[in-house]
């Protein structure tokens, strides 16, 4: 007996199940896309390239709050295989009432690690005392143009500064949500001395040097006598000589050296946020809403009890009916889960464009990850199969 031609399921009733599935898939996709986007954005915050290493303070509660001695940048930059070194001060601040991050940098060194395209105005130089360049997202959000002057209020220290916008840049990275300033401006706002920075990033040739070798060099440095202030084995570039030179003592136990992505993922994983745990959390949310999907599927069967009874009375076996229900419901289910995913992408795109998809004042970059799509379809397929194949009462 074949039931393929019997159209005994009413479309309107199946639509309820389809709607439940679409919304559940939307919830799953929204959760998974945004959480994985946050994870990806956070771990790639300091760069995605291989061969970028950071020196940081392991005791810092966040990647933004630790301090390391700046003179390590000079010391390590002379090692064979170190291609660029960028000391940076990352500091939260308030500009025009908006919470933002300002990054104090040595512009020439910084652009070796993060190339910038100047969209308006000019590139920043280290001797632009009271100037900043701003990411295009901030320029749009705050309506800022080159030559505008802004009042910057401190968050970590009691500071206020007047700074002038020198240019607007694009980098296609998280830096588009930040303000770049000369290194010493970041130090003022952080309340740190001229001898300290939040972290130092290096671009290295991995065939010549690695994080362990850099750490060993720092360990050697910590055990040696600190040279007198004002003297230096490696002369600074002329533009850096405007910064007062300070050498701070440090404890090697507080210094960490890692690939930047590993450094950032170590921070987030302290709180149990791994890529896998975030996917499991999203799947759990889907399974919680799965009880409603099961209820909707059962309701369809109850609503078609009459039709099913007729089919049973003319010889259709339970197995045949289950198989037929599965064949008829599965395409609807899979289509609606795809629609749900598409709805999630649309909603996330809209709220991202409206500037509401932000974490720590940085836009969360969500990407269409095939893994989420596959996981969604698999979960829907398994859920519908289990519900229909295990359903006994009314068949």
């Amino acid at each position: 007996m074949r039931l393929a031609r019997f159209r005994y399921l009413k479309k309107q009733r199946i639509l309820t199940l389809a709607l439940t599935l679409a919304l559940s898939s939307m919830l799953f996709s929204m959760t998974a896309f945004s959480l994985l986007g946050f994870y990806r954005g956070f771990t790639s915050y300091l760069g995605e390239e291989e061969g970028v290493v950071a020196i940081y303070n392991v005791k810092g509660g966040t990647p933004f709050t630790g301090l390391v001695p700046i003179y390590l940048a000079e010391r390590i930059s002379v090692m064979n295989g170190v291609l660029a070194s960028s000391p940076e001060v990352i500091v939260p601040c308030i500009i025009r009432g908006e919470a933002l991050f300002l990054r104090g940098v040595l512009p020439k060194e910084f652009t070796k690690l993060n190339p910038l395209t100047i969209l308006e105005g000019n590139m920043l130089n280290l001797d632009d005392f009271n100037s900043i360049i701003i990411g295009r997202n901030i320029a749009e959000r705050l309506g800022l143009k080159p030559n505008n002057r802004v009042l910057v209020l401190g968050v970590l220290a009691d500071r206020y500064l007047e700074l002038q916008v020198k240019g607007i840049f694009a980098s296609n990275s998280a830096i588009d949500d930040e303000v770049l300033a000369p290194l010493y401006v970041g130090q003022w706002l952080r309340g740190a001395g001229y001898g300290q920075v939040t972290l130092i990033r290096f671009k290295i040739d991995r065939s010549l040097v690695n994080p362990t070798a850099i750490f060993e060099e720092i360990a050697k440095e910590s055990s040696e006598q600190i040279p007198n202030q004002g003297t230096s084995e490696t002369p600074k570039p002329p533009e850096e000589s405007i910064m007062p030179r300070m050498i701070m003592r440090f404890n090697i136990e507080e210094i960490g050296v890692d690939e930047v992505q590993k450094f950032m993922s170590n921070y987030i994983e302290r709180y149990g946020f791994t890529r896998e745990s975030l996917l499991i959390l999203s799947a759990t949310i889907f399974l919680f809403s799965g009880v409603s999907i099961a209820a909707a599927a059962k309701t369809i069967i109850i609503q078609h009890k009459g039709e099913i009874n007729i089919l049973r009375s003319i010889g259709a076996s339970k197995r045949l009916l289950k198989r037929d229900l599965l064949i008829k419901i599965l395409p609807w289910s899979l289509t609606s889960s795809l629609i749900g995913t598409a709805m999630a992408i649309s909603v996330l795109t809209i709220i991202q464009e409206c500037g509401y998809l932000k974490v720590l004042s940085h836009v969360v970059p969500f990407q269409l990850e095939p893994l989420i799509l596959i996981l969604n379809i698999t979960l829907v397929f398994l859920l519908i199969c289990v519900i229909i194949l295990r359903y006994e009462t009314d068949l």
Partner: protein, 379 residues
Amino acid sequence: MIKIIYGLKMLIRKGGTASAVLSLALLVAIVASMNSLADYMALQVWILGRLTNPSGAYIIVSEDAEAITDSQISVEVSHGLSGIRHVKSIFPQKILLAYLNTNFSTSVVYVRGVNDVDAYLKLRGAYINGTVAKSWNEANVGEVLANALSINVGDEMNLTLNGGSVKIRTVGIFRGQTQSDAEIIVPMEAVNKIFGNNDTVSIIEFYLKEGENSREAISQVARLLPENIKILQSQQLSVFAQQVNGQMLIFLGVWSLTVYAIIAVASYVIAARLIAESRYEFTMLRVLGAEKRYIFALILTYTATTALLGSVLGIALGVAGAQTASTMLRWVNPTVDITPFIEAEQALKTLLLTLASSTLGCVYPALKSARIKYIEQQT
């Protein structure tokens, strides 16, 4: 009312009620667990805000000024401030952009005029090489600016703006690790001499006495100020934390809407299933003379009851689940201390939103069922 209670009793005894409550409870649990984490974060933000140093610096600037150099405040305001007992110290400052001509170059620099250069540099904790500027033709230069323009103690330079010019001598180079390190600090007299206008200053920086109630003190200062003047705290830790928390809450709000939409559809399903399973009971009620309105009210009450039970159970499940997860996380990593909890107001909001979306979801099947004649119901 009694009729509804009897009818409800009959419907609640049906087998599907438990699964209906469970399906709604699990959906509410999703929202409740996220809200419990959000409430914990909000508490941390509130604590952080209270930790902000209450005796920190405050600045008074013009309401319409985008930057300090645009601001103009009457000097009378600072005279008024000195009469307030909560205020420890006051630093009126005139900050201007001027042309600096040295032997080697011409640059645009910030010039800050203060009443007492010594007190100002002490406030900034500055180290000085040389002496403090005391007369109108003396200046202290910040170390960063001095390094950049090769200015040394004893050097003479010209400050020019709008045709006005003054020759000043560098009597000291200082390091304060603030923006002043890239500025020239001169006595107020010098600024007034070059630029005229003795009646206004750019900003007034003031500090409160330790242990003062900052809110009360600031409101007292605010009462003194003319309408076009504002007070800003220079360290904005709580504002930053609130905004960062707000960013998360906005997303959570949009995300929660999806869950409430699923609750509405789930309630539609619950009502549809109830109608399908209770066809006999509804037919009998109609035969015995029950009005359409009664059937409608009965279905609505049933769904509202399951939503109420589901939301109470869901809130409990969600908070307990989040707390269990955070305890397990603490076992794995003892440094992570997250204690999710839900505010009564938040719980009530969740409950009301669940009830509202449930009611919305069940209206259509309830109306449709009430409109069917009992002969149709029998078929």
